[in-house]
Each structure stands twice: as C-alpha cells, then as structure tokens.
Subunit: 364 residues, 4 copies
Amino acid sequence: MSNSFGQLFRISTWGESHGGGVGVVIDGCPPRIALSENDIQHELDRRRPGQSEIVTPRQESDTCEILSGVFEGQTLGTPIAILVRNKDQRPSSYTEMKDKYRPSHADYTYDAKYGTRAWHGGGRASARETIGRVAAAAVANKVLAQLFPNLEILAWVQSVKDIEAKVDAATVTAETIESNIVRTGDPDAVGPMTKLIKEMRTAGNSVGGVVECVVRNAPVGLGNPVFGKLEASLAHAMMSLPATKGFEIGSGFDGTQLTGAEHNDPFYMDGDTVRTSSNRSGGVQGGISNGENISFRTAFKPTATIMTEQQTVSSSREDTELKGRGRHDACVLPRAVPIVEAMTALVLVDHALLHTAQCGPHFG
Amino acid sequence: MSNSFGQLFRISTWGESHGGGVGVVIDGCPPRIALSENDIQHELDRRRPGQSEIVTPRQESDTCEILSGVFEGQTLGTPIAILVRNKDQRPSSYTEMKDKYRPSHADYTYDAKYGTRAWHGGGRASARETIGRVAAAAVANKVLAQLFPNLEILAWVQSVKDIEAKVDAATVTAETIESNIVRTGDPDAVGPMTKLIKEMRTAGNSVGGVVECVVRNAPVGLGNPVFGKLEASLAHAMMSLPATKGFEIGSGFDGTQLTGAEHNDPFYMDGDTVRTSSNRSGGVQGGISNGENISFRTAFKPTATIMTEQQTVSSSREDTELKGRGRHDACVLPRAVPIVEAMTALVLVDHALLHTAQCGPHFG
Amino acid sequence: MSNSFGQLFRISTWGESHGGGVGVVIDGCPPRIALSENDIQHELDRRRPGQSEIVTPRQESDTCEILSGVFEGQTLGTPIAILVRNKDQRPSSYTEMKDKYRPSHADYTYDAKYGTRAWHGGGRASARETIGRVAAAAVANKVLAQLFPNLEILAWVQSVKDIEAKVDAATVTAETIESNIVRTGDPDAVGPMTKLIKEMRTAGNSVGGVVECVVRNAPVGLGNPVFGKLEASLAHAMMSLPATKGFEIGSGFDGTQLTGAEHNDPFYMDGDTVRTSSNRSGGVQGGISNGENISFRTAFKPTATIMTEQQTVSSSREDTELKGRGRHDACVLPRAVPIVEAMTALVLVDHALLHTAQCGPHFG
Amino acid sequence: MSNSFGQLFRISTWGESHGGGVGVVIDGCPPRIALSENDIQHELDRRRPGQSEIVTPRQESDTCEILSGVFEGQTLGTPIAILVRNKDQRPSSYTEMKDKYRPSHADYTYDAKYGTRAWHGGGRASARETIGRVAAAAVANKVLAQLFPNLEILAWVQSVKDIEAKVDAATVTAETIESNIVRTGDPDAVGPMTKLIKEMRTAGNSVGGVVECVVRNAPVGLGNPVFGKLEASLAHAMMSLPATKGFEIGSGFDGTQLTGAEHNDPFYMDGDTVRTSSNRSGGVQGGISNGENISFRTAFKPTATIMTEQQTVSSSREDTELKGRGRHDACVLPRAVPIVEAMTALVLVDHALLHTAQCGPHFG
C-alpha cells in the first residue's frame, strides 16, 4: 500500500504534521543487530527543524522511542516500531488555509480525493512525514554496515537555484558536508548559497535545487531485471519525497548529448576486479550494480508555502488570495540531504535481502 | 517481485529475446471489457522491430495470442495470458558475446549476480521484454477508455541527441506523431532526426534522446500520498525501461532555477472547475493528479550495442576487445514512444483501481 | 511481510508482551468514516485480560490511543496508527524461562530461528499481539457497517474440551453470547464449561476447544478465484492466531461422510433472490460468497503454559524440567471469541475493497 | 493478487479449462538449478486426467513447454513460464449449464460477481487450474532438493467417505502410495476405496475424503510469527484448492479433547538435537518448524458435478432442474494427492527463501 516501502525490509510510515505524532514500523529486519535510540536520534537530529538559522524555526526535538522489536540492545527479528511525538504544534497558523488552497501544495488534491483533509497542518504531505523514513533508515544503515562494512552513502546539496557546487563525488567527505549548514560538498559554495536562502526567507519567497548522492563501495549484484531495476527503485524512492520533480542517474539527461561510442563505459581488469574506466552508467547496468560508484541527482522544487500574496481558490469554489503563514523552510535542501541518504539506504538494504533470498549471501 | 508491476491491475512479464517467446499475465482486469487480439496487435505493431528503415531489421511479426481470460470477446475478470513467439532468432550473432561483456550492457552484471546468463541474446535486458508491457497496456487502455472516455496518453520524441523538437503538449496529435518514422511531434524535426539516426547506424554508432509524454483529460484524484505518489509510480515505471537514465515531471530540473513565487501554479475557478493558470506541477500536486495535463520526460541513453571495436573484458577475466554484432537499433527512441505510453497506461489504470477501492468510483 | 495482513485494508501489527507496548498501523482505510477511541476500546475490553474470573489475572486496561489518520472524528484516508501501552509487566515471572523452553510454546523455535528471543514474556507469540488485530478490526467494522448495514459477524465458544454447546447459528444473538463469561451461545453450557475451566486452573492444567463463527447478511460476491478464495483467506486468518490447530467451513471434515447427492446445496428462487435450501457450502462456492450464512469453526489447543512440572530442555542443550509461572489463561476460548470476529472482519473488509476495485461498488 | 501465491518464490497461474491452455509464471526462482521439461512432466502425469479407471476420462496428455527462464538446462534466475495446451475440449457437454447453475459449484457466484463466466467449462474453478501449481511445484522441489537434500513431502488418501486408511506417517513410502490408483498409504484400503469410487461413478454420484500429508526431515526455522505462521501458509494453500472444506495440523480438532498436560510435546535431547517425544504440534510451534515431522490433513468434499437430476435455478432466475454432463471425477482424492504435495512444496520453498533473506542461509 501507499504508505509502505520495500519488499523484505519493509517500512510502514504513519502520522500527520499535527496530531499524536509520527512514526514507522519496520518489518523484516534481521535479528541480532545492535540498535539503540541513539543510533536513530543521530539521524533524526540531522533532519529536524530548528537545527540552523536557514531552516524552519518549528521547535521539535524529535525525540524517538523504540516501542518494540529490540531486546537487550539487539533486534529480535520482529517488527520495530518507532514513535516521535509532535510537540510544537500551532494549528492557529493554519486557520486561513482551512478554506483556501495553497498553490502547488497538496491541499486541493487531498480534498478532492478524500473529501477531507487535516487542514490544521500539512498532513501527510508535510515534510514531518519523512521522520519515519529517516528513523527506519538508521536501522537499515546498521544492517548495511554489517553486510558491507565499507559501503558509504553520501549526499550533498549540489545546487541552490543557479548556484552550483563543485564537488568530486569520488572524494567528498561527510565531514565536509556536515561542516556547513547548507550541507553542500563545496566550501566555496557555502557563502553564496546561505546568502541566497536568507534573502529568499526575508523576501517571503523560497528556492529549490539539486541534491546529489553517491554510494561508494557498493557490492556487485544489487538490483533486479525489469521492474526491480536498482535505478527504478531509487527513482521511486526519490520521487516519493515531498517537492521532488526529477531524478537522474549516471550521465542522466546530459547523457543524451553523447553518442554510444562516447557514452559506453569500457571494461578493464583491475587486478582480479572488473572495473569500468568511466562511469556514465552511474554504477548500474541492466538494473544491477556493477561495483562502481552509484551516483544520482534529485531535483527539489522551491517550497510551495511562501509568505507573499498569491491567487488561489477556496474550498467553496471561489477565487480568492492567500498569504502563507506558519513555519516553513525557505529552502528544503539542507534538510533533504539526510532524507535522500535515508531513502538510498532503504533501497539498498531491501535489494541486499532480495539478492540473498534468491542468489544466496554472496555478491558478484 | 521484480517481474511484476502494479498492485491491482498487476502484470507479470516473462521471456528472453531468444527462446520460446515472451509474454505477460494480467491479474485483476475488470470483467466485461471488450477485448480481441486486434486491440493488442495494433500496439505491438507500433513497437515491433523492422517497422521502418531507422530501427533494427530483426524480422518479427510479434503476432500475439490471448491464451486465457477472454470469452466471447469479453474479459472474464480472470488472468489474461498473452503469448508472442520468438521467430527470427540468430544466436550465431552472439557467439563472441558468450565470453565477452558488451560495455554498458547487462552482460557483466547478470553474470555476476546469477552466475549465468542467456548469452545467446539480450535475455531479459533485451527490449523484447517490453512486448509484455505493451500487450498489457493495450488491455489497460480499454479499461481506461471505459473509465475516462476523454483521457488521452500521447508520447513523442522530444529530442535526438542535440536536435530538439518544438512541440506544444496541449495540442499535438497522435496523427502528427504517427505520421513520421521518428515519432516526433514536430514535422520540422523529422528530417534532421532521421538523417542523424541513419548516419549513426552507418557509422556503427548510436544515439539517444528524450521522450516526452502528456496525459490529457486525466481525472482529479489519481495517486496517493507518500510512496504511492503518482510521480513516484511514473518514475518507477519509466526507469524500469531499458536504457533510461532520467525522469522529470512538470518543471523538472529546470524548475530549480525559479523561486517559489515564480514556480507556484496559481489556482482559479474556470466555471465550476478548479484550474491552475500555469502547470509547472506537471498535473500532480502532493502525489495526486489535479486535473491539469500530466506531463513528464524520460531520458534514453544511446544504445549500448555498437558496431565498432571497444575495450572490454572476458568472462575469464582478461582484457580484450569486442565489436558488436546482431541486429540492434541505432536509436531506440522511435520504438520507445509506444513503450512510454504503455507504462503510463499501466500506472494510470492501477491508480484508478486503487482510488476506486479506497474512495469509491467517483473522482474528485 | 509476516506482520501485515490484507491487500487493500492492510494492517501491520507490532509489539511484544513486555516492552513499550503493542499496536497497529492501518493503511488503506476509506476516508470520512466516523471513528473514535471509544469504538476501538469497546472491542479491546472484550479481549483484555482480567475481565472475568476464568481468564488470566494480568491487569491491563489496554487503553488505546489513536495517533494518526483521524481528524475531527473522521478518518482521513491516511494511515491510522493505534497504540496500547504495556502496563502490568512482570518479567520476574519469566526468569526461569530465560534458559528453559516451555513445551509446545514458541520459545525454542524463536530461539532457533532468530538466535535470540524476548524471554521476558511471550514476545510476538503472546496473545497480547492480537490487540493490534482487534483494534484494527474495530475500524474495519465501521467500514463494513457503512457498506453492508445488515451484515453481522458473530462468534461463540462451541465447545470446551468435550463439552459441546447447542447453538442455532441462524438465530443466536450477541446478547446471549455476551451474557456469560465463557462467551458460549448455549445458556445450558455455561455452567459446565465454567466449572471445567476453573477446575483446570486450580489443577495448574489447561483446556482448549472450538470457536464457531457465522457471518449473516453477507453480500454475494466476496472472495476471488484460486488463491484469493474467501475460505482460503479465512483459513489463513484463523490459523495465524495463537494456539489454533484446525479450520473448517460449512460441512468441513464431516462433509466427507456424505455423497455428492447428499452434500450439494440445491438452489431455489426466493422471490428475486437466489438461495440454497441447505448450506453445507458454508456460504462460499468457488471461493466466492453466495449470500447464505458464512459459517466456520476454528480449533484452539489447550494453553501450552501450564503450572505443573514438565520435561523439557535448556538453551544450553541439556535435559531439564520446567513448571510454568506468570499469569496465563487456563482456557483461551472466552477471549478468542472477539479475536475470531476481528480476523473475520479484516478478511471481509479487504475482500469488499478488492471487489470494488475490480468489479465496481455493486455486489452480485 | 488472487492468482499469485508466494512472496519470494512467486507463482502466477492462468488459464481456463477450455481455451488456449493453462500455465504458470514463476518469479524469484534461484539461478543455476538444473531443470528440464521432464522434471515437470513427471508431476503433471501424476495429476492428469485419464490416468486410471477411477478418474475423469478426459484425454489430456498435459504436455508442458518451458517458454522462458531456462538456458542450457539450468534456470537463469529470470521468470520461468510454463505452458500446457488444452486439447480434449468438449464445450457441447456444457450447453445446458450455460443457463443453469450447478449446485455447490462456482457457476452462480462467478456469474454474480463478474456478470459473466466461461460457461463452456469450469473456467478457473476447474481442477485444470491446478496444472500451473503442479508445474511450479516441480521447480520448487528442485530448489528444495538442493537446500534440504533429505527433505521429503509425502501425501496420501487417508479416507474416502467412511473408509479410513491405517497409515504410519513416519514410515509410509512413496512406493506404497504410488503402487495403487487410489494413492492411499494402506494396501488394505485400496480394494474397498476403489470399489466405493466405482460404485459412486456408476450411480452418477460422487464421494469425498481426506488427504494427509507429512513433511519429513524439514529444517528448524521455516515460518514466521503472526500472519506468516507456517500453518497459516499451509492452511491458505490447502483451502485455495478446489473442493476443500477443512484443514488441520498436528492434533487438529481432536486435540481439543486433551488437557494441556496431555497435549504438550515434551522436549528432550537426542544427542545434540532438540527433539519432542510426541508430536501433537505437527512439527510447528509458534508458527515456526521445530524439526519434527510436519503433518496435516485436508478435507475434500464430494465432487459437485454429479450425473443425477438436481434442483437448481437458471441465470434468468427461474426454478429448474439440472443433470450434470461432461467428464468429471467421481472422487477427486487420487488426483488431489500430487496437488497437496505441490502446494506444500510451494509453501516450503517460499518460507526457505524468506528465512534466508532475513536470517541468512543457516537454519536453526
């Protein structure tokens, strides 16, 4: 169903931005994985609002509680339920939106589909929904670390509007990315990006950009033919995130500018290892990882909720105007970085278990 | 599993490029839909090899047989099995590839994952695999036509390498697209695109491009929150096609160059209908269709199998060279058009049934 | 996955008998269904421990909290998360069982499968796991009441060991069943059954029996051919309950004693309605409901945890003896009645949505 | 969906009794399993009509063709499609049934649900549907043989009407069972059972019975808690077969006659192996196999289609009478034996892959 992801490491998220809380149930996690709330909290802290001066000021500690599936510090193999309470709720900010649809937001379509919506907040369309994903991915990462000790998932802000970072995907480090509040991999881009985001917030406007992600030291053999292609799973995962409008892997859209002779990645032997001398495939061939870096980009549109007057309609079907209120990110990119990494981890762990089920515990 | 797609209108495809044939089983199709082999054959003919001078010359009539699920010209509500035999097989063309991996193809990764592969052809990575999708989509289209009589799915070649078509997605017609062998929507682009593809084939090289697709007169309410977002399903569908490297919907990657105030689609009342005065959302908001045109683009890389010498390795782990043989498209774009339409139909019909199950037969 | 049930009205339960709590996430519930915690609490109260002198004395109020998916008293169409905290935990009762496997319980197999187990209680094998099912079914019943206002699901204790109740499935009422602590449908059986259960408890022994269930005023058309047969779903549902050893529908095992001429249910017209003059089919033919009463029986073995010395082995693989401790039902039957009804409701609502998706909102 | 079974070794069956044929697609089969049509044909021959004087005389060789997924005698890891053509079709036998519903058959419910049905035969309710299951199970058995070389699945006719066989589940052999056309495990029961079936056929009547099945040398650890209990999967599998009315495992319904002290299976050490000295659990505890024999029974009702006049109604809603025609089994039991074994193999292989995915390739 629509709120579950993964076939074997299967997560089911729940929760609205306002209400009792948000959370996730993970089914299919291997047993005897060391796991504590600290493991999860660390990732939630990277995602949480109020973490810096360029993100939404909503005050949520996003403290998590593991309700089940862990005993004496280890997973049991049974469902892991994780709960995060909503604390800093301000439904009053949403009073006007009860009757007016925010342009390019989910208000109208939810109302049209369901005949109702949780108008006192963003409901399931709120970025708060991604808490369950990030919490589940913290568990996924523990499993991945055991299966593939050298595997590394690293995302960063590649661009904010027209400011492009210069980043070498092969060498960029988590330290560099986490050392700045934008979470870009290019120290020189931090200043201009920060400045632009602040200007936009001051103007009641918003801005989008691109998050790039690389998976280093992935095994050969993740992914399946046809509908289970690794890039299909990644595309599904990224395009399920709020505000995403595009996904590309390897050479992506630019790859269409090359001929086959230019685009193909030649194979060569590196000792006993089959390698490619270029990586326009983005680490995936025929839907299956080939051991090179898996690299892809996701486009995030500018935040829909802005603080300037916009033309819209009311739920009673009349033309009207609306000026956004509430606490929102003028740019979702800095907080999107851990979420992109989270969805990547969830895709990888699921494919790792699928591979093991069909082909055994050895990877190509 | 990896070879099935859809939750309620569920298709399971099977078959290698060489062997007994290819086909599909459709489970969950509504009963009492008029259906004959002609309905399916028409779409298969648009996809089949040998249809024009710019596609692969493999001679396959791709004649389909409905084996089950239809009685007295109507669907029974039980599984519809469709079979297409492979006829023009030339495994001899693949002898060299038995031991050498084609660069940027699936040969190496299949071998590494499964410890075996159908080296006498492209196996499941062959474009022949898409026959099952196209056949199933012909059935899906019959269901959609009954649910939404005005719905129209239209794809065309938007670019071949750096040749870009000029197409108005709101008005382009199937007649225009089908009137040329490239299947572009811009009559002025036909000549240059055809010329380029022929040049590439003569040179033993290949070329890629972008297919654009628009869904007109879609209902409001298709799609679900979170992992069931309509754009997530479309991205999954498109990125499951052979040779795809990117997907974008509405404003896509270019949308990141706009501010929120520029990017948002203002709502207005058009009589009793809620409309937007721009459509950077691409017809989907919060994962759910809003009644505007659903429009998206898919990037196809240049065909991997080319007829010039390339560096590669052998299955015995030695550096070597390989020159492609066999019959291949120098450009998959013309044949990709019906396949993109097919996957779109499969996504829409599945979401239509999902909506009906949860919210009843009325759309927003 | 193993902790989810249903395809469209999909529940995912979680929680161990000891730990943070137990609960459920419901995905796919139709929107605009009136729902409050009272609706759920009423069913949980019928299931909870400590409700009478013949069930386990563990003191749990089993107070539920709806965490998401409900707004202003109505379902939103988004996931409904329900939480019940564990309160009266006594892990000390389980100290001995940390190292010794209870005969015919799940201790050994969990340990063997997972290499770990939540030895401080019954873990997922505890009957506490069924709280999530009962809570979800309370929601299912609200949906069913809207779809089929006259539908009635009624279960009762048909036998305790060799004491058999005399019940007319066509006329027995909820009032009769709920009027006695055994939850049997036969007032004359209440005394003997109660006496036997008390004797068993006093003796540190236990006893099982049969729960019968009837669905009255079910629509025609629930269920699907082949693997989706209604009786297959019901069997799956009932045999997923703790302590069940058998399931039969309609004539069941006794039906094998008849010839076809004796066993077949003749059709006749009752006004405009197709009826059968007998109901050995148990309301289901070809896997699909025919409008007659759906009736089936489920066998529950005697509770495994008994308070007398038994031969067993330790986790260090030595022969030993074990005498049960903790608080357990000497007979699970009285509390099994609402659980059987719950699983029945979950099966019916899922099949109702499946039917609507494929065949539209009308039933045969 | 309704025509698929299994989560990882997933089969999708299709086909009506009359029409192009019947078949199955298997998705998720491990690669490099030796497989030929002979492996499958052997099992189909045990199931096919016309095999002896006590089964339906319909003449079908049921010759199978593997269409995909096998290359050079080994599985590829890609979908295995298997086709069996229908040959000996006699729709003329069904002319009268076009308008009259056979009592206790699927005619009425299919018509009511779908508004149509394949009246020229039994459609999906025909036992021909099980061909796909048996073919898929032949593949499953090859996988199981590799995983668990000593595992043995053995079913036999335990009773025909009131004639009960005397069989020791621990020692009965395939040779004994296959040596008689009834497929019972008790040589002394062959005569009476054969005589009864022949008498029934001569009288235009029919008879049912019970099939018992034992799995010997099963590993510890197959099955999952809650909805994935091994007995729940087996019950789902068996109750999805045509004509089944009941399922029980281990002590089953009779187990309710015992107290807990009598019913529990004491553990003891047999060298390094944990064993139980009785097996009322039927080899499954807490939903997970414990290494003892897995034993269960399935009740098959007498065949619905009989050759004597019966009261029924017409599709135009009038009372009428109907006398069956066509070729049918007077007793399905002899042919049900390989089908019960087939479903058992499909359950076991799926749970084996599920276990491997979550817990690794070692069993408890």
